[in-house]
């Protein structure tokens, strides 16, 4: 999803090698095996060790470089994996194509720990197939030293209709759905709208903002903020957290009209060789302490109540990562929009960029 894919790719080789080594030493476990298939650098090796010690199951992990790879492998017959970690869009396709095993996540013992907003997800509304793993938000961050009066409103208005001093000093993500969603939230329009007039409103809003935008880009958002090249950057929260490591004054905003969040989930492919261990693992991952250990490694939020106290301090104390309770009602889940709506969105985007 939104994590740095090239970084993951780079770490892929190292990751695989480390885990191959780990699995070689742990092949003596008696309780059978568990094979995970995940992004590289996206699962804590310590956590794997902990699971092995507590359950006696031997765990191996493989890495994919893109969700297309993951999907292709599953469509070609499962690949022998027990637990996979797709994003929301891919999850929807997998459910629709009947690729996942019914593991009854919502009936699991630890499902009660899942935050209310994550108890349902587009494509798997009743949480039959998937449990939340990591999630993040798309808001914006700003440097108080560079904005008028050192403060910006917690609203998309602050970047869609910027103060004169900020014109030309704003960077937007170059991500069609995130930008479209933000516009829709601000205007109070459904992000899955099929109404041409509403789409036109979003286009007008974005066109009006465009002259004030310095650039649209997904790359180097962290450096750009740290180097002070822009005062405001529409950004993913994980990136904002890393900006704050270098410049603690930076503020990450959850705009009040709505802040999209994306989710990566855990699911089990049909015909998984170790179904029982897979269920055990998914349930185990919903224990607050374990979810926190996963977050400490990835730097992204988990969806488990009570995991906050186990987080590393720098994550716990950063509202960009550990979303404050009062912002929960600002979060907006992914929705699978109709073809017509997606077509409108795409035409708005091309018109914006031409």
């Amino acid at each position: 999803m939104k994590k740095n894919k090239s970084m993951r790719l780079a770490a892929l080789c190292t990751g695989t090698a480390v885990f191959a080594l780990l699995s070689a030493t742990s092949s003596a476990f008696a309780e059978g095996e568990l094979r995970l298939y995940n992004w590289s650098n996206y699962f804590s090796p310590d956590l794997i060790k902990k699971f092995e010690e507590e359950t006696g199951v031997s765990v191996t992990i493989d890495n994919f470089a893109s969700e297309e790879d993951l999907l292709a492998k599953l469509q070609a017959g499962g690949g022998g994996y027990d637990v996979i970690f797709p994003g929301t869009t891919t999850l929807g396709v997998m459910v629709k194509e009947d690729l996942l095993a019914d593991i009854g996540v919502s009936k699991m013992e630890n499902f009660k720990n899942v935050l209310p907003a994550h108890q349902t997800i587009a494509g798997d509304e009743s949480r039959t197939f998937s449990a939340p793993y990591m999630w993040g938000t798309t808001g914006f961050s700003y440097d108080p030293k560079k904005v008028p009066e050192g403060k910006m409103a917690e609203s998309w208005e602050a970047i869609f209709k910027p103060a004169d001093e900020l014109k030309g000093n704003i960077a937007m993500l170059n991500e069609m759905s995130d930008v479209w969603n933000a516009g829709a939230y601000y205007l109070g329009i459904s992000k899955c709208t099929e109404d041409a007039a509403e789409a036109q409103q979003i286009l007008d809003l974005l066109m009006e903002q465009k002259p004030a935008v310095k650039l649209y880009s997904n790359d180097g958002t962290i450096d750009r903020m740290v180097a002070g090249e822009v005062a405001v950057h529409m950004q993913w929260n994980g990136a904002a957290h890393r900006v704050k490591e270098k410049n603690p004054e930076v503020v990450y905003v959850y705009p009040k009209e709505g802040t999209t969040f994306w989710t990566d989930v855990m699911a089990v492919p049909k015909g998984a060789p170790n179904l029982e261990n897979a269920k055990k693992f998914v349930n185990w991952m919903m224990v607050p302490e374990n979810a926190a250990a996963a977050s400490n490694y990835t730097g992204y939020s988990n969806a488990i109540k009570g995991s906050g106290e186990f987080l590393k301090d720098d994550l716990k104390n950063d509202p960009a990562v550990n979303t404050p309770e009062e912002y929960n009602d600002r979060l907006r889940a992914y929705e699978a929009c109709s073809e017509k709506s997606r077509d409108l969105r795409e035409r708005v985007w091309t018109k914006l960029k031409s």
């Binding site: 396709v93 286009l203 880009s217 077509d343 960029k353």
Partner: protein, 297 residues
């Protein structure tokens, strides 16, 4: 077999592998592209095979308004014209920088020439992506260029050098300059300096010598260089993406977007074919010019 027939037979087998490679790796994919461009699109990516539709081609000039009625649209025409315009600017800039460079190189000693040619090709040892990122560092607000300008006191505010068409033109010119320098150099290297001397003996001014003797003799190199710069510039993707700040699309980016985020394969394929047609047009002009000049392009 007669010797002649044997030769034909033999030639057939010699040409066979190359012809096969061209058919498999060029003719068939192009035919697939053409076929895909007239299918109706599937919104998850891909197409509905067999469902014919002219929608992709209509998009070039007409736009389905957001309410689905057709009307004239300049959305894509603007991008296409911008691509051609930026490529032309790139070609002219490359020529302005490249010609003097090539002339300088061609008039050095032989041993120096080899070294200079080597130095012109040196940037190719670095990946295009890396070179474009280097330009980001140079052109950014507090980068090298602005730092120098402000240090010299020419300006006290950083100039907006990055994320606009200027940056794209600079980046493209830098990327493709060697393609201009080398053909001109090879034309000028063969230049008979006695012709220049003869010109001066006949009281021609420096300008007249340049205009009436050197440039006409360098024309083949200039044309070849211009074609070599213009064509890759037209399809460039990385430079407008990185240096244009995602605000100035060129055809390459538009194609990338259609196959990526937009998942509109038919339109992507149609754009790809259109780009190919533009390139062929440029090549044809070149070939025709060559024929006019007596078969020596």
């Amino acid at each position: 077999m007669t010797p002649a027939r044997r030769r034909t037979f033999f030639n057939f087998w010699l040409i066979g592998p190359a012809a096969l490679a061209i058919i498999i790796f060029m003719v068939i994919p192009l035919a697939m592209m053409a076929w895909i461009s007239i299918q109706s699109r599937s919104y998850g990516g891909g197409v509905h095979w067999g469902e014919l539709s002219a929608e992709a081609w209509l998009r070039f000039l007409f736009e389905r308004n957001l309410d689905d009625s057709l009307s004239w649209s300049v959305t894509y025409t603007v991008i296409i014209i911008r691509s051609i315009w930026l490529s032309l600017i790139t070609t002219v800039l490359s020529l302005l920088v490249g010609f003097p460079t090539a002339f300088f190189m061609a008039t050095r000693d032989r041993k120096w020439r080899t070294l200079l040619v080597f130095m012109v090709t040196l940037p190719f040892w670095t990946n295009l992506l890396v070179r474009n990122y280097a330009w980001i560092l140079i052109l950014r607000d507090y980068g090298t260029a602005n730092g120098l300008l402000m240090w010299l006191g020419i300006t006290d505010q950083p100039l907006p050098l990055l994320h606009n068409q200027f940056a794209v033109a600079v980046g493209l010119t830098y990327s493709f300059l060697p393609f201009m320098v080398l053909p001109i150099y090879s034309s000028l290297e063969k230049l008979d300096l006695r012709l220049v001397e003869a010109g001066f003996d006949l009281y021609a001014s420096r300008w007249q010598v340049l205009r009436n003797i050197i440039i006409p003799l360098a024309i083949p190199g200039i044309i070849a260089g211009s074609i070599l710069v213009f064509i890759p510039a037209l399809g460039s993707y990385v430079t407008p993406e990185l240096l244009g700040g995602g605000k100035t699309l060129m055809i390459g980016n538009l194609i990338g977007h259609q196959f990526g985020a937009a998942r509109n394969w038919p339109f992507g394929a149609a754009l790809g074919l259109f780009l190919l047609a533009l390139v062929l047009l440029a090549m044809t002009v070149y070939a025709l010019r060559g024929r006019e000049r007596g078969g020596k392009p």
